[in-house]
């Protein structure tokens, strides 16, 4: 499963694209894209809206959280810096 993420032009905040073609900071509201062809088509639509979102790209979603090899990077984008906690540095993917 995939979804589209980007940074909001005006303030750079992390955003996700909904099925209605809007942008939200809430990953739960983001459109889930099951097949690659649809994902690429939606990404092309997002890239055609440069006045809202900067640099849209596809990410993998597993169990409603960022997945794939970029899971940590996308997880940090979703929830913010982990610098307040020294526990999370030690967490493996499973524990996280």
């Amino acid at each position: 499963m995939k979804t589209i993420t980007a940074n909001r032009l005006t303030d750079g905040r992390v955003i996700y694209r909904t099925a209605e073609g809007e942008w939200t900071e809430d990953l739960a509201r983001a459109e889930r894209l099951a097949d690659d062809a649809t994902a690429e088509a939606r990404l092309a639509e997002a890239e055609a809206e440069p006045a809202i979102a900067v640099g849209p790209y596809l990410i993998e979603i597993e169990d409603d959280a960022p997945g794939g090899q970029k899971w940590r990077r996308e997880g940090i984008r979703l929830t913010g810096p982990t610098t307040g906690s020294t526990k999370t540095v030690n967490a493996s993917r499973k524990a996280a």
Partner: protein
């Protein structure tokens, strides 16, 4: 401190107006991101993981109290209440909105600051010894020369689109606290046999993917020739630097490819053409710039206070430095609280430092390549008041130069280039070293951490370096040993396979304990490592892995 003249003010104001217009055109769609990106980068605006990041230039790390207060207000009004000092002695804000940045730049301009040339393939912020103008071992203050280079390089049309970014450092002391040998150009102030002051010129150092130590290409350069010689070096680089390959574009790769002798020959040949041109620095101009950097007056009879306070005594022992002027000291303000984020400082703390600098520090503070601050000029009789002020602000950690004085890049918690996190590793190491009570026993040692090979956290020149890498979505950390930032600069060597993040703090603690077991009397960590080699340390690092 240097004061802007009419031209400086005009240049900065015009640049802000231009950028404000560019932001407006980007927001309303007249500029695409591809068109806008190089424009925002030229104004220090990056797009990171969570938000825009604004990097503000602090020329040669020098700030006054008015500037510190504005930096604090920007952190409070436009960011999340903190800023982050970098190893290039700049400050970064991690959360500004693009739409606010022109206003932020206006606030900075009001106190003679800007974000110009903090990104892009141009000459970046010129750095020097953070104790310049104060250090007891100083031959000459490096700041006037850094300021001359800043003025010459700002908006220099020939050097705005170099093959890659370009970093220059000036050092005026016998100890190298500016890291000359890991800069594109390093300038060491020296005296010749006639007793005249000039520059030793080093070229081709740098960190990043292929760390290299610079080569000395000239033993003595007269001050009048400084700008013509720099121009010659940059022309050779600009002509022959590898624009076709990002990884080979820095001057260090050119110097390596053709050899330092050939690079020097080409530089000298170019220099012969221009050395008597209008690039000659007139003595009057040197004197005019020097006049901005007066020494503070001596405080005769002002002795370092004897104290029965253990906390104050510990802070004096670690964070005070000898000053060239009688009755004065310099002090390091550690931005490395135990378990904290290296280099971070809150809005309130910035204002507290401003107050202390204004009241007790001849209105001056410095940022350091170790992500700390310095009050360069403090009367010895005011040291206790400064310490009390720092305690109240939460800035009195007595660990300058100790194992908990860790340098770390922002890493994957903020940076779009990073592969792994740096700050949480630094926090874990700091906490464990403190818990083990090792800091004071171990004494001087440098630990520096990077979240990618670009090495903004200088891990290559740390006694113990840590480099984060990503392996199929998991963070691993390579340990390097034997790097050094100073006069006897060296690049650290990787000791073996990467460790999981959870294993790094204990591995480093074991290495520090090994040092305690095998050191000779008064031998620093790096001295022991150089004497015995890395094997014993390597064994301890992997002992329980």
């Amino acid at each position: 401190m240097y004061k802007y003249d009419t031209y400086d003010h005009q240049m900065v104001r015009e640049r802000i107006a231009e950028f404000r217009d560019q932001v407006e055109r980007r927001i309303d769609g007249r500029l695409t991101e591809d068109q806008f990106k190089p424009l925002r980068l030229m104004n220090g605006v990056y797009l990171q993981l969570h938000a825009y990041m604004l990097r503000v230039a602090i020329p040669y790390g020098t700030m006054n109290s008015a500037q510190l207060r504005v930096l604090g207000r920007i952190a409070r009004e436009y960011d999340k209440g903190y800023g982050h000092f970098t190893t290039r002695t700049n400050i970064q804000y991690n959360w500004p909105a693009l739409t606010d940045i022109p206003d932020i730049l206006d606030e900075l301009a009001a106190v003679e600051m800007h974000a110009i040339q903090t990104s892009g393939n141009c000459i970046r912020n010129v750095t020097t010894d953070p104790f310049a103008g104060a250090a007891a071992d100083e031959l000459e203050d490096g700041r006037p020369w850094a300021e001359i280079i800043r003025q010459w390089s700002t908006f220099h049309p020939e050097f705005t689109f170099l093959p890659r970014k370009f970093k220059i450092a000036v050092n005026g002391a016998s100890e190298d606290r500016a890291g000359l040998r890991v800069h594109d150009i390093g300038l060491q102030l020296v005296k010749n046999e006639a007793g005249e002051t000039g520059f030793e010129v080093w070229v081709g150092g740098g960190q990043g993917r292929t760390p290299r130590l610079g080569h000395r290409i000239r033993d003595f350069l007269e001050p009048r020739d400084l700008l013509s010689y720099l121009t010659a070096i940059l022309r050779v680089y600009n002509q022959h630097g590898r624009r076709d390959n990002l990884y080979k574009a820095r001057i260090k790769m050119l110097v390596e490819a053709i050899g330092p002798e050939e690079f020097a020959r080409q530089t000298e040949a170019e220099w012969d053409e221009i050395r008597d041109s209008n690039l000659v620095l007139p003595a009057e101009e040197i004197a005019r710039i020097r006049a901005f950097f007066d020494e503070p007056p001596a405080a005769t009879g002002s002795a370092i206070p004897a104290t029965g306070r253990a906390d104050f005594a510990a802070w004096l022992r670690r964070n005070r430095r000898d000053h060239k002027v009688e009755g004065l000291s310099s002090v390091v303000i550690s931005l490395k609280p135990i378990g904290g984020t290296p280099g971070d400082i809150t809005d309130v703390q910035l204002e507290a430092v401003a107050d202390l600098a204004e009241k007790f520090g001849f209105d001056e503070a410095r940022a350091t390549p170790d992500q700390n601050l310095v009050l360069p000029h403090v009367r010895n009789s005011d040291l206790e008041a400064v310490f009390d002020g720092l305690v109240a602000a939460g800035l009195a950690t007595a660990n300058a130069g100790l194992a908990t004085d860790i340098v770390a890049c922002p890493g994957l918690d903020y940076c779009a280039l990073a592969n792994a996190r740096s700050i949480p590793i630094a926090q874990s190491i700091s906490n464990l070293i403190e818990a083990e009570g090792l800091s004071d026993q171990v004494g001087d040692v440098t630990i520096k951490i990077d979240g990618c090979i670009n090495a903004c956290g200088h891990h290559h020149v740390a006694h113990i370096g840590v480099l984060g890498v990503d392996k199929r979505g998991e963070e691993f950390y390579q340990i390097t040993l034997g790097g050094n930032f100073g006069k006897d600069a060296s690049i650290g060597n990787i000791v073996g396979k990467g460790l999981a993040g959870e294993d790094v703090p204990a591995a480093i603690v074991r290495a520090l304990n090994t040092y305690l077991e095998i050191r000779n009397e008064k031998e620093r960590f790096i001295d022991t490592l150089r004497r015995v080699g890395p094997d014993a340390f390597k064994e301890s690092i992997y002992a329980a892995a």
